[in-house]
Structures are given as structure tokens and as C-alpha cells.
Symmetry: C2
Subunit: 305 residues, 2 copies
């Protein structure tokens, strides 16, 4: 398909396929000319407050056919585009970054990295025996694209992985989420990496914590509300947690989670690393080539009608 | 070979091979009867100050034939045993723990885990874009048993590994240490995991730092004196460092390294995790079985003459 494409990165303009005119827009004040734009990649911005010009300009693109996001989530644009516009997301582009941060959180908890950081700041040299990740049985709840990327990184650490998804897939040795009560007593570490929906909200709560061994570790890199914060606080250190997402988020300054024993968290930074950019630019090169050639697009989450 | 063996762990006594009498000694006051001991495993203790009874009793074992350490280093006992005693060490037993901690240090530095630990303590929620480990070229200086264990864990993070050892081994794609000047400008992360000897003391100093890119990371999990501390301090944050060993060690309370920009360290805890124990006990079961059967011992570092 021809026409004009509006994208974020110079590499994608430099590699523009024949027959497609590619302009740049990285956010902020809108380009003066929006007519003729058939393909719009919403610029990547880790977080936005107030009026978002990146989204506001969609309404001034009457010829738009494809709205391309580079995030996995797309709820925020569903109400902004007519039915005939095809919506594509950034599934997979954050996998390497998120999987890497998941391992960072697991290792931080097992090897007490927060303790050493504070000891360094307070000039205290006080070695102590450490837990390890080796020999742990690690459950991954949400065995999709990111879950498999986490598993690949975990296995060389001499761990055993237990795969769980919303529905069982016996041919891949994936358990269904209804098997959690039978599986939880056998694992040392649980990684939550599910999207947030009616089935996963509060998925991990009082009942699930009660089934875990003393000193087990729960890691949440999905969405904060998948884990019941009150149930975690009630553990009072019996089960530990390493989180990249919290509920509520951001965490209010007077929230008890800041000082909860055995709880360590990072401020929702798993996906936002430099690993994203080369993967996103390469994806956009290929996606624009598909669009220009009239081939089926990748990562379609809602086809245009 | 028969006689008496003195070892640390109950599992090894319970699994004692036929013909070998196995007693327990876990450190502290010596057993009353040391005569007849032919095989002595020095009990594992992460660090010792003052008189070390574990070593002091070696002189009271006239029939000793094998001195077994479960640490990799053995300098501390060379002067304590006659020439006819065979010395074995714990090569490999700390590999999983040390390799795991190496990845923890790399990820801590790339994903700024110390920053988030201190932000949590100060109740500050301030996300920021992160470096990643993905796409990094990582040099391992000291490509032996631990180096290969580090490489296995690094590769699934979508990294490229450059192998360096004291002597080149072209058939394994291992470069010699004399190639460092040509290789250093091309790498993002350098992992030092060499023993300390005349050739490695101060191996990484002013000249090597100068060849590294801005924002490169140097990780030391070998011995502190392999890295020139003054040269690191002179970087003033241009090159970052994540260390498990320092020079001097322990670090004096008034040392500038505590607050050096871009420097993060842990207090020599890489090898001392729970991963060590099952591996060490399994090794000792097998070693005692070899000894009782008159088979060649594993991990001999100095054969008895």
C-alpha cells in the first residue's frame, strides 16, 4: 500500500520501501501536514501525563488505515480509531528487556543485592551466606512470549521450570491455572507474567501464598493487580517478593509496601531498557516493507473492517 | 585405601564406602583421637580470623595421605603438609554459585538495582530508562571452569562472548591475554575471573581502562588485586565497575571505593551460597569412594611423592 507513513525513527525513514513516503514524528507538537497519512506509528514514550498529542492527532488523519503501537498494551487507543483502521501492537519487542529484568529481580532477591547496596552506602563490609538460584524449581505463570524468554534465561542457572498458562497445553508440558493449588507447594519461586484481565485480577492472593513454602519468592513483572497487595503484606516476610509492578502504582509515599519485610521492588522499569530500540526499529523496517508490498501485517490485534 | 577419614558432612559418613571408617569434624576444638587418619577434608568455613584449628591439627596426623580442601585456593596449606601427602582442592564446587553471582552483578549494574534499592528505602518512585545486557559484547578474562559456567548463563541474554585466557586456544576460539589491547575497544563488559598470581596481579590497570568505551562495565569475581584499584578510582565513573572482590579486602571504612561513582560491590559472597553444599557433598561421596577403592582421586593439585 502506498501513501504516507509517519514513524518515529530515522532508520525507518532511511530504509523506506519503494512507493511509500515516510516522515518522522517523535512526539510533541504535531506535524503541520497530516493529510495523506495511511500508516501511523505512535511514538514510544515510557509514560505520559496530561494531554497526549501523540494520540490527539489520530483524529486528524482521515486517510489512516493502520495504527501501529510499539507497546504491548493497546486499550488506550481502542476508542480513538474508526472500525476500518487496522490496529497493530508491539508484541515481543519488550520480551528481551522484560525477561532480563525478571532474572535481575530473581537474582537480586536470592543474592540479597539490595542489602549489599545499602551496606555499601553505609560503609559496612559484612559478608553472610547466601541463598542461590541454582537447584530452585521456578514456576512461570503466563507461559507466552515473555514467559518463554524468561525460561530460556533461567535454565542455564541449573533450575527446573514449571509452566502454567490460563489453559493447559499438555503437548508443551504447560499446566492450566486451575492446577495451581497442587503445584504451588512444590516450587521455590513463582514468576507472574500475565496480562491483567477479569481472570487474572487478584490471581495470586491469600490462598496461593498459604500454599507456598517458607522463604519462597514471588516475582511480579506482569501487572500490579494480578498480585493481591494485602495478601502479600500479611505474609510479613514468611514469603518474599520481588516486584517490578505494584498495586497501586505508583506507590503512594505512605504505603506499607515500601518497608514490608522481604519485599523488594523496582518502579516499573522492566520493559524500558535499551534492548527495546534495536528490536523495535528492526520490526518497523519489516512492517513498513510488508505494508508497502501489500502483504499481511504482523502483530495485528484488531483487523480493520 | 582404608584407614580413617575425617570429613565435615553427615551425608558423607552415612554414605561411607566399605572398608573406610568415617568420622565427623566441622571445625572448632579438635577431635581427641587424630591417629590413624589417612584422609582429612578441611571443614569449609567462609572466613577465619586468628588461630585456625582446622589447619593446626594437620600436624597431629602422622598417617595422613590425602588432604582434601573444598575451596579452590590452596596456598594456605602448602607449607603445612609433608611431600608425601596428596593435596586435592574443591575446583568446580563453587562454579554454579560464582557464575550465578557474576550474572547478578552484571544485571545489577546494567539495570541499576542499587539505585532502586536506595529509592525504595527513601520512598522514591522515579522510573528512568535503563541500560540492558542484551546486545552487549562480554569479554571473559579467565576462560576456565567458572568462565565457561558464566558463558553458559550469559548467552541466552542475547549477548556475544569473547573468550580470553592466559594462553590462546584457537581450537576453542580462546584469545591469549596479550590480545587484550586489540580486543578491549570492542567490548561493552569485561568479566575478570582469573586466579591471582604474578602474571595476573594488576592485570587490569590504567592502560586497559583507557582502551574501554565510555560507560563500559568491568566485573571482578576473581581476586581483588587482579584489578588496579587506583586505576579504577581514576576513571571517576567513565567506566563502571561491579565487584565481588576488592583490593584491599575487607575494604577499610575510610577507603574512597565506598563512594566511587559508578562502582558497586558485594563483600566477597559470590562463592558462598547454598548452591555449594549439595555439590560439595556429592563430590565428597564420590571422592571417598575413589579413595576406598584405590582409584585415582579427582582434583589433585599436588600429588604425594
Amino acid at each position: 500500500m502506498g501513501g504516507r507513513a509517519l514513524v518515529q525513527w530515522e532508520q525507518n525513514r532511511d530504509n523506506a520501501p519503494d512507493g511509500l513516503h515516510v516522515d518522522l514524528y517523535a512526539g510533541g507538537p504535531a506535524p503541520t501536514e497530516l493529510k495523506g497519512i495511511t500508516f501511523y506509528q505512535v511514538p514510544y514514550a515510557p509514560s505520559t501525563q496530561g494531554v497526549d498529542e501523540r494520540l490527539e492527532i489520530i483524529g486528524r488523519m482521515p486517510e489512516l488505515r493502520v495504527l501501529q503501537l510499539v507497546s504491548a498494551g493497546y486499550d488506550q487507543v481502542l476508542g480513538l480509531i474508526p472500525d476500518h483502521v487496522t490496529l497493530c501492537n508491539g508484541r515481543g519487542l519488550h520480551d528481551a528487556s522484560t525477561a532480563e529484568h525478571t532474572l535481575a529481580l530473581i537474582l537480586a532477591a536470592q543474592r540479597e543485592l539490595p542489602r549489599w547496596a545499602i551496606d555499601q552506602r553505609e560503609r559496612r563490609w559484612a559478608p553472610a551466606p547466601q541463598r542461590s538460584l541454582a537447584d530452585c524449581r521456578v514456576m512461570i505463570v503466563g507461559y507466552g512470549s515473555i514467559g518463554t524468554a524468561i525460561e530460556r534465561r533461567l535454565l542455564p542457572f541449573e533450575t527446573e521450570v514449571v509452566r502454567v498458562a490460563s489453559r493447559p497445553r499438555p503437548e508443551q508440558d504447560v499446566h492450566g491455572v486451575d492446577e495451581l493449588p497442587a503445584l504451588l507447594p512444590r516450587v521455590d519461586i513463582v514468576v507472574l507474567v500475565t496480562p491483567l484481565n477479569d481472570a487474572t485480577r487478584g490471581l495470586f492472593g491469600t490462598r496461593e501464598f498459604a500454599l507456598l513454602r517458607d522463604d519462597a519468592l514471588v516475582v511480579n513483572v506482569g501487572r500490579g493487580a494480578v498480585l493481591d497487595t494485602d495478601a502479600l503484606l500479611a505474609q510479613n516476610g514468611r514469603v518474599r517478593a520481588a516486584l517490578d509492578v505494584t498495586d497501586p502504582e505508583p506507590l503512594p509515599v505512605d504505603h506499607p509496601l515500601w518497608e514490608a519485610p522481604g519485599v523488594y521492588f523496582t518502579p516499573h522499569v522492566a520493559g524500558g531498557s535499551t534492548a527495546f530500540y534495536p528490536r523495535a526499529r528492526a520490526f518497523m523496517d519489516a512492517q513498513l516493507a510488508r505494508w508497502a508490498a501489500g502483504e499481511p501485517l504482523a502483530n495485528v490485534v484488531r483487523p480493520g473492517r
